[in-house]
Every structure is written in C-alpha cells, then in structure tokens.
Symmetry: C2
Subunit: 193 residues, 2 copies
C-alpha cells in the first residue's frame, strides 16, 4: 500500500536497524481516516477469504481491526487480552506470546464464548515481526475448532521471520507495507501487491 | 441512549450489585456497527464543545474513541498507555489511576508530542465508575496546557460517584446510559438526554 509506505517514511521514526515507531498515526495517536483506508485495503486483500470474524490483540490492533470490520460490512471484532501468565483463565482459550521488543511473555486470553466452532477468522494486527502474537492467536483459533482464513498486518518486518513461520503452518499472510531492511536510518520496502 | 440501555439489558451480564459485564459487544467482542451508533451519539451530545482531539485509555476505550472521531469528521484520537509506575516516562505526561475493580494502580502515560497546547480535548471511555481514569486524564490535559471540553462515557455507574467528582472540577460529563442502581440482578437506568 503505497500510501502507508509514504506515511511511514514521512511520520515514522527509525530506531537502530530493528525498530520503526509509528506512534504518531497508528499505536498511540491514531489517524482514524488513515485507519479506514487501511481497513478498506485489508477488505480488498482478504475479500475472497470471506471472514466471519476478525481477531486481534489489545491494544494497538483494535483500531485497525474495527476499521477493517466496517470495510467487510460490519463483521464482529474480538480482541485477545494480555494477562499475566498466572491470571485466572476459566472459560478462556489461552496461548503464550513472547515480545522480543519488551522481553516479556504474555498470556493471550479470549473468552470461549467469543469464538464459535466454524468461525472463519481473519487475524489482523498493526505489526508482524517475529510472529509470536500471530502464532498464539492461530493456536487459540484451533483450540476453538475454528479456522484461520488469513493473517494481515499493517507493517511487516520481513527480516524478523514471522511471516515465514506462519506460512509454514499453511496460513495466508499479507501485509500493507513490508520492510525488507533498515540500514543507516533508511527503510527498504518490498514491492506490495 | 435507548438502544444502549436495551442492549445492556439484552446482552449485558450483572454480577452482584456493582458490576455490569458488556464484554459481548463493547470490551472484548466488539459490535462495530453499534460502536458507530454510539460514536454518532457522542458527536451529537458534544457537538457544541468543538473538540480538536479525543483522549481515551487503552484498551477498551479505543474502539469507541475511533468511532466518535469519525462522527466528528475525523479528529485525531490519542490513547493513554497503562504503564507500571516504575516504567521510564521520559517526554511523557503521566498521572496515576486506581482501578477499584482490579485493585491496582496504573500510571497513565501520554507522549508529550501528542497533546498540543490549545487542544480542545474530549475524553471518552467505555465506563465511568469512580472516575479515577477520567481525573487522571484531566490532570494530563492540564499538564499539557490544553483544555478538557467534555467527558463522555458509554456507561455511567452513578452510584460510584465518578461523575460527581468530575463535575465538581467544572467538567461537563455526559453518558449514553446511566445506571442508578443494580438490585437483585435488576438494572435501573436514569432517564437520558
């Protein structure tokens, strides 16, 4: 998505060779009009997957998931909560996800009543890096007897390998902007669909 | 908002005399179409306040804030992050908020670059109970030299006193559904605007 690549170059902030900060329009301050444009793009990319529900993780996936849900004609959104691994998890599906940036492990938790057997789940998130959150959500969907029909990320950092891991499990992965590398503060994108 | 009262009665879950769970359409699974209706209602209620920005708290305020931002003609949303009180907070405004439900204190944190002096800030959230999050956000807006032009909640629990505390500070407070009491599993609403 050309517009996202341009916005990352204009408003994003590169830290070292690993991190791109987009807290000015995606995950702290939110440009809702731009979220809606990204939502439309996700609806275009995953139209044929015919999702019945969108799954994401709190907090930064919520805005993008809601915009996409509207673009799909108002399908429900469910966001996984991040609990401490020792939190009570009765009647919930859970899976652990490591955050490489924060150096922490959280337990993603979704109430059993919010995923139905037979649901066609599209997983959306702001970032796809090492793929830990995506893999944990796939695990939860499987526990629920539902199907992952695709996984979309606004920004993919291909050099952190998450998409490759997910594709090896048979998941269709698409991102709106895929970063191949960051060098000397310069971002190199991979050509998008 | 009659539609919200009806939805709370239909899909909400009462626990004891204090708690109403709305995780089936607001804060775990999200009914995005209904969020948009609530967003329109916030835009109607606070039209004359002419907000330039909406402030909320992660995670459950984000969806409602984004819907309202669209109804206001796409104004920016900023969500406060909940950090542990010992987290690095360089270049951020912070204020402590106690959660009576969870028995915890979190430090709400907003990057200084995301609130401008002169901003007309509308604070929105899913719940208004004891008012701790609202008061903390008001404190942050004041630190930034901006103005709180209103505070809106989807669901107000009047018996927990938050709105009264905020009004005493001169804040205009409006909610879409105000619960006067819960008794024997029965919810009594206060007539809405």
């Amino acid at each position: 998505m050309k517009a996202l690549e341009e916005k990352i170059l204009k408003d994003g902030e590169v830290i070292g060779t690993e991190i791109v900060k987009v807290d000015g329009f995606i995950n702290h301050k939110i440009d809702v009009r731009f979220m809606d444009e990204m939502g439309d793009e996700f609806a275009r990319l995953f139209r044929d997957a015919k999702p019945s529900k969108i799954l994401t993780v709190e907090a930064s996936g919520i805005a993008i998931a809601c915009s996409a849900a509207r673009s799909f004609g108002y399908i429900p959104v469910v966001f996984a909560k991040k609990a401490a691994p020792n939190t009570m998890t009765e009647d919930a599906y859970t899976a652990e996800a490591r955050s490489f940036t924060k150096g922490t492990v959280s337990l993603l938790r979704i109430s059993k009543k919010h995923i139905d057997k037979g649901d066609r789940v599209l997983i959306l998130d702001d970032f796809l890096a090492h793929g830990e959150a995506g893999l944990a959500l796939c695990d939860i969907v499987k526990q629920a007897g539902a199907e992952v029909v695709g996984l979309g990320a606004a920004i993919e950092k291909t050099y952190q390998g998450g998409a490759a891991k997910l594709r090896k499990k048979g998941i269709t992965v698409k991102s709106l902007a895929a970063i191949a590398k960051i060098e000397d503060g310069q971002i190199t994108f991979i050509k998008s669909e």
